[in-house]
Symmetry: D2
Subunit: 221 residues, 4 copies
């Protein structure tokens, strides 16, 4: 991915965020992916990666700062989904915090809106069906997910989409991807190299795809 | 459940709907539950139960007719969730149809809104946390679910909540409950008697509960 | 279950055993089932039920005492299987202890034989396919399982079958049944009443069935 | 893995077998792994790989031919385990065929012994705990499994261990490894490259390990 002569002027930015480990775990594959992707060039864009605190509120404040600072063309937030076996392209963010466990600052909100008075949900503005197809063609386990949960991942996803719905962000796309555990964390899992490769493919596809494709990837229930 | 002296004047109505079998299956526990609950008295309300076609569009048209006809105080739609092990109280309906399999009329919409131009989602207006607690106290497997899928169940759930959001329906509550397979359909499953008992408890709780309780029942992802 | 005129002389005995709670849990459905079944008459047999310690070695010593004392015609050991959604009729006991967690006495053997020098495995001598059919016909979730694990349940199952293989026990049948969690323990689960009803049906079927039926109930892997 | 100067005389042989696709599937990752590993040198041994028919009886006849022809030092049979998320090191083969679906020749035996009159089970003679550790250290998803099912995989595994129990095969080790689906087959799955890498590590570890290590890897049930 290194290039001898980086394009000049500076290429547009893809903002990629992972999360700190949480729930007593020692690692979070999304933070390791952020480390690996930071500074890479993908489809003419430079990846700026950061690790958000796994904390309600503070995570979103940090994301807002990053967006203001880097003015990205695309924002991909990434979180760990223990128990999932595939790279999960999230379809929808919902306006509720309902925490089964405390966040990394000890807060455990129950049935509180992410943004009071805001819409019940936002759909991802990433071309998740095209991304699904690209991942599957690369031989990687991938799926569209109908829920990002109600913990900090959904919180950040919702806050991101609410921000990008403001007039100043026309044309900036964003969304959330959940990734499986590392093998050392339990089963099901995905080797880190496969996950990083998948994220690179997902970003490249999102940058290259104008209108999403039609591909059934719903859930019966 | 005996009703030697039915109250007079006629008690208010709870509208309960199940679905026809679909996906090649011979039975649908939600239809059997509708049959069992029809006509029962629960907490001073009379249950009117019906079985909706598992068909995009037609299911909602039928539901609208039933609502107009019976003017229920509460609407509980119920569907089968193969692969789930507990009675699932659905939190949110999303504005998308994305069918993995054809419905019973052969239609298979992909990424089509349930109602064009309408909000991305509606939250259930049932007290799902109080219902969760009531089911658990009765020794029945129950959970709050963050997604009702993108097939006909979510379609009906979304259409119901969109209708109930109209001014004429102030105070009418509604939501969706997913129930596990019958033992004959596969595993995990729940005996039909336990499912029906659970639905009765859920309805009674919804009728008796004004403001929902605070009880963590979210998902990490 | 009524027994106005208990048969005289004393009816033959079915020995049923559950286990103490383990792994930090407050309850074990197999112990509750033992409590419920103790003293019942099933198909002309009297159930003698006991709760074994969830301890390698001591559990088997206690089982041996019970067998010597009651000279049962049939022995059904029963244990809890967290994570299973159906009543599991175990096919085979293997000669190994490999404990992921300590037993209730703090022991955690790894790759130690249950009985040194004894065969690698014994098959259940219960008619598990007929029992499967009986449970399914009663609308209860049931399955044949190809592994009873490597903890105290398998230990007791292996020890039981090794004992019953001795010449003095010709005609005495035995086996192990795993049952799901109670709803309060997590998901998947089964209401206690359904589990007890299933055990009663399983015992009655085992007593009534001479030669097992042919019914495919294997696993692909 | 290529070596400029292959050792002379010819290196000892590791026999690796995969299976034909079955159950209506278009591919079987174990056959692709066989293709990839054939001819490779691992820890001074040459891999001879073959694809067995997914047929009761014929698979074992072919395995016997291969063993006679190549006189391997180690035999690793490999099969696909749809639904498993990790490379599964099988602990025990049981003496029963019980097929949920027909094999590739249309046969569907129920509760028939693999070898009439032979022991109920054999344990793998591979150092499965050391192999588990080696896979985990390489960041690959791995587990010890307590059942290889009752279909053709277990049939071949049992037949292999029964053969290796004969006096002429002292010192020849053998066992079975189950591998997850390819991503194109469904979820959970593992990219083919990760699976092949894992098999190479497993073989190298088996060749390098005299006595297995003590490492808890049992199942509670």
């Amino acid at each position: 991915m290194t290039r001898a002569h980086p394009p000049s002027p500076r290429p547009p930015v893809v903002l990629f965020t992972g999360f700190e480990p949480f729930g007593g775990e020692a690692a979070n594959p999304s933070a390791l992916a952020a480390q690996a992707l930071d500074g890479q060039l993908i489809a003419g864009h430079r990846v700026v990666a950061a690790v958000l605190p796994t904390v309600f509120g503070a995570s979103l404040a940090r994301l807002d700062d990053l967006i203001r600072l880097h003015q990205p063309a695309l924002v991909l937030c990434c979180g760990q989904a223990g128990g999932r076996a595939a790279i999960s392209l999230e379809r929808v963010a919902i306006n509720v915090d309902d925490a089964r466990i405390p966040d990394n600052a000890g807060a455990q909100p129950v049935d509180r809106p992410v943004v009071a008075g805001a819409p019940a949900a936002y759909f991802s503005s990433l071309p998740i069906k095209a991304m699904l197809q690209a991942l599957q063609r690369a031989g990687l386990p991938a799926e569209v997910s109908q829920t990002a949960g109600t913990f900090v991942c959904n919180h950040v996803f919702y806050g991101l989409m609410h921000r990008l719905a403001e007039p100043g962000f026309a044309g900036v796309r964003g969304g959330l991807v959940h990734i499986p555990w590392l093998p050392a964390q339990g089963s099901p899992c995905l080797p880190l190299e496969a996950t990083i490769e998948g994220l690179r493919i997902a970003i490249a596809c999102a940058l290259a795809t104008e209108a999403d494709i039609r591909l059934a990837a719903g859930a019966l229930d």
